[in-house]
């Protein structure tokens, strides 16, 4: 094997951040190389240099022994480098073939787009690489997994033999992930392609890669043969200290029902039905996890329960009170707290300080108000510092603007506020999205603490592992309907995957 790509002392400095710090790395021809690291470790920056989006501030890059002088995506494509971004860059109303040909369209008489030829070329490509997809289907009608194939085909159409995949499995079901890995293995084996995969899911690294590079705070911490390491070792390399993925101690028996949803119908922002007849109940002292691929009604369901979205039909009961059609404030008063899916738009006031964000919801409490209206700033600040310490929020102190904090710390502010209400019901959505591994542990421990203290917790997460780790029971949602309900320890991820795509057979106990 020869060196396909060689980074030599590459540094990339943005105003305020050293995103890549003196990185030297060789990637060999015909291997699957995994690049792992937490958010902000500099993985994407490094790959953007390879793909020509960023020009490094120092160091040099060699592709097949040739020094790269011109950094642009166009030049990178000409060198045979293709990149599939996390968010697909496809035109929804175009067909698969049109999307693939876009940018290098076959022409009829030099002017007109030759659709037939585009489809023929696409079909040839599909046969050559074994990536099954219908060339004449419109992209908006095909699944996310297939859309990803279209993205891969697009790079192949442009003659790529080095393929960069940025977090390719984030939107896929376990089955789709397996299929993707099958494709990767095949193109590497049969076409001698080089594949670089950016991820932070460690079991995927173990499953697919030949070698793995770990990045932390802009530096390359180490490069290992995948067969020489395990997940635990990689995790501690990523975080910089040993990470304890210990079993979470779940104690106590479930108590009375605290959330009850009967035959709920909710529409999404476009007015189309998103939740179609969902019924569920959560007892105190248990976690009910929702497993669903994004966009199958789980967001709308949680918003309807917490009063953030209009209910078209059905009934929601919180702690024995009718919460149907009530405002978020009224439902909170019944004993519900809510960690929202999108913390930036719903969970915080970005331009306000940490103090103010922690106070929200308690601003009317007697201890913070003199004569019932004058805000006692010193008491407020004392209260905020206590929570700040208790929830291990790290940043420049309680006066920091929340919008300037990292995702993990911002989430800690949200969780600190919501958990401090000590309500019997918690609705939690995406607790660790964009949060690094170290903080993930912290949130998981806190959630289980709440469960053991007798809270009824309804959890939704795009991270299937998280759902498995935290839940007592799991329901699967597909196109707004419950397709199955399971005890978390009585089912595997693969089985759940079938129900998430609506192909599971019947519901188990």
């Amino acid at each position: 094997m020869t060196d396909e790509i060689r980074f030599e002392h590459i540094s990339m400095e943005f105003p305020g951040v050293l995103a890549n710090d003196d990185i030297s790395l060789s990637i060999r021809n015909g291997e699957v190389f995994a690049l792992v690291g937490e958010n902000g470790a500099g993985k994407s920056t490094l790959m953007n240099i390879l793909y020509g989006i960023n020009t490094p501030t120092a160091g040099s890059l060699y592709v097949r022994g040739e020094k790269v002088t011109e950094f642009s995506p166009k030049a990178a494509i000409n060198r045979g480098i293709g990149m599939v971004h996390q968010h697909f860059m496809l035109v929804p109303s175009f067909t698969v073939a049109q999307n693939i040909a876009l940018g290098r369209e076959p022409k009829k008489g030099k002017v007109l787009f030759d659709n037939k030829k585009a489809e023929r070329l696409t079909r040839e490509l599909i046969e050559e690489y074994g990536l099954e997809v219908d060339p004449s289907a419109e992209v908006r009608d095909i699944s996310v997994g297939l859309q990803q194939r279209v993205e891969i085909l697009k790079t192949l159409y442009r003659g790529a033999d080095i393929l960069i995949l940025d977090e390719p499995t984030a939107v896929l079901t376990p089955q789709e992930t397996d299929e993707l890995f099958e494709v990767i293995r095949r193109i590497v084996r049969e076409k001698q392609m080089t594949v670089i995969i950016i991820t932070h899911k460690l079991y995927e690294v173990m499953a697919i890669s030949d070698r793995v590079g770990v990045m932390r705070q802009g530096k390359l911490i180490g490069v290992e043969n995948t067969c020489d390491v395990d997940e635990r070792k990689l995790a501690s390399m990523m975080v910089g200290r040993p990470v304890l993925f210990d079993h979470l101690e779940k104690t106590g028996d479930p108590g009375e029902v605290a959330i009850k949803v009967d035959d709920l119908f909710v529409a999404d922002n476009r007015g189309l039905p998103a939740v179609r007849g969902v019924s569920l109940s959560v007892r105190r002292g248990e976690v009910l996890g929702i497993a669903a691929i994004e966009g199958n009604g789980q967001s709308e369901l949680l918003e309807a329960i917490t009063g953030m979205r209009k209910i078209n039909r059905g009934r929601v009961t919180v702690c024995g009170n009718d919460a149907t059609g009530k405002t978020p404030g009224e439902i909170r008063a019944m004993g519900l707290s809510h960690v929202p899916e999108d913390r930036l738009s719903t969970g915080v006031d970005k331009v306000a300080s940490v103090t103010d964000n922690l106070l929200v919801g308690r601003q009317k409490e007697k201890r913070f108000n003199l004569f019932g209206f004058h805000q006692r700033r010193s008491t407020v600040e004392r209260y905020a510092s206590e929570l700040y310490k208790k929830f291990d929020i790290r940043g420049a102190g309680i006066h920091t603007e929340v919008g300037s904090m990292s995702g993990g710390n911002m989430q800690k502010v949200v969780v600190a506020r919501e958990f401090s209400f000590d309500t019997p019901v918690l609705v939690i959505s995406q607790p660790t999205r964009g949060v690094d591994i170290g903080a993930m542990e912290f949130f998981h421990t806190r959630i289980i603490e709440k469960r053991n203290d007798g809270a009824a917790i309804l959890l939704s997460s795009a991270d299937l592992d998280e759902v498995f780790r935290l839940s007592d029971r799991i329901i699967t949602l597909y196109e707004g309907k419950i397709t199955g309900e399971f005890k978390a320890d009585a089912i595997t991820k693969e089985e759940i995957g079938l129900y998430m795509t609506g192909t599971g057979e019947g519901a188990k106990a």
Binding site: G16, G240, T327, G347, V360, N369, H399
Partner: protein, 367 residues
């Protein structure tokens, strides 16, 4: 000591103050070029501008009265924008408030001033508040853009005012207008427009500042303005608070109208009661980034600029050149956000450079 410094920095937004000063300075520099090009001596012109409002008590009084109007109008805008609603209709609320106040006065002829003035003030506030309630409720219930409705309602108000003051409610013999000479705030400086209304204004100003900055209601208002979805999520009654803020904003504008009638003009004559004063107050609020204390200070700066026009004319500068000047000053002050952003960026960059240098020396810091 260090703590005290940090406290001051937190309280006084230094980058903002520096940016405003720079922007005024830049504007004066540009204007100096214009003045020279037009054949004037810029130093003499500026001297006239600055000195005039302080050259006599009368000028000083007029300047303060104007500052008072700008300040109240600016704060009315601040109250709305604090909850995320932009009241551009203050001009109409002001005029209608003044009209109704004048009408009340003209109908209560012969009664005690101690009865008439409060009645007129209440009537003006009720009118202004009601007139602001219309776009407020439309915004909250039907999501109708308040900028458009308030602007349109300004024209409606102006026409209503000229109709009533020139025909139905007119009580002046020659011109259009409603005369209320009988009742007035006591004049503080003879010959100027400064009256005891300024004490009432100071009280209102203090009240607004206190509620916005120091109370839990003000806290809730700010949350709604910053992120309405988050405020709703946190359980606030956002719709109600937005409507109330809009009504209060309108009440303040109505009160300004009443102050103008009973404190300065002693009659309701549309063109004299307000000459787009609310829009200048709006500008003040924008430059002050909708913060109460800067609004007060910038109102005074604006008032000096405006009343200094006469001083510049005395120095031989034509009024058109003065208008150009005023526009450049406003333009530069409005651009101060840009100046401020660049100040902050430079500061961040310096901090980052230090950070990067420290990391290079110490290797990757372990947490």
């Amino acid at each position: 000591m260090k703590q005290a410094f940090a406290w001051i920095r937190r309280r006084l937004n230094l980058s903002y103050i520096v940016a405003v000063i720079i922007s005024i300075f830049v504007a004066l520099l540009i204007d100096a070029i214009i003045l020279v090009a037009a054949g004037h001596n810029p130093i003499a012109a500026y001297r006239g501008l600055i000195v005039y409002p302080f050259s006599s008590l009368r000028h000083f009084g007029d300047m303060l009265e104007y500052a008072m109007v700008l300040c109240l109008c600016g704060l009315a805008c601040v109250v709305g924008s604090r909850v995320g609603i932009f009241n551009v209709g203050g001009e109409g609320q002001l005029l209608l408030g003044g009209l109704v106040a004048a009408y009340v006065g003209s109908q209560m002829s012969g009664m005690s001033m101690w009865l008439v003035i409060p009645c007129a003030a209440l009537a003006a506030m009720a009118t202004g508040g009601l007139y602001a309630f219309i776009p407020g409720i439309l915004k909250v219930k039907l999501k109708v853009n308040e900028v458009i409705t308030t602007i349109m309602l300004n024209s409606v108000a102006a026409l209503i005012c000229s109709f009533f003051s020139s025909s139905v409610w007119k009580n002046m013999s020659q011109n259009e207008g409603i005369d209320v000479k009988e009742f007035r705030f006591a004049t503080l400086i003879r010959g100027s427009k400064l009256s005891t209304a300024i004490f009432a204004s100071a009280l209102v100003t203090f009240f607004v500042w206190y509620i916005l900055q120091k109370t839990s209601k003000g806290f809730e208002m700010r949350l709604i303005g910053d992120n309405p979805r988050f405020a709703r999520f946190a359980g606030l009654k956002t719709d109600r608070i937005v409507i109330i803020a809009m009504i209060v904003s309108g009440m303040m504008c109505g009160l300004v109208g009443m102050f103008r009638v009973y404190g300065a003009e002693y009659a309701f004559i549309s063109s004299k009661v307000s000459n787009e004063y609310y829009f200048e107050g709006l500008m003040v609020a924008m430059i002050a980034q909708y913060q109460p204390v800067p609004t007060i200070i910038i109102s005074i700066i604006f008032a000096i600029l405006k009343s200094g026009a006469r001083g510049m004319q005395n120095a031989g500068v034509t009024i058109q050149i003065y208008w150009v000047m005023q526009a450049t000053v406003i333009f530069c002050m409005a651009a101060q956000t840009g100046i401020r952003a660049s100040i902050q960026k430079a500061r961040q960059r310096r901090a980052a450079e230090r950070d990067v240098a420290a990391r290079r020396e110490g290797g990757v810091a372990n947490e």
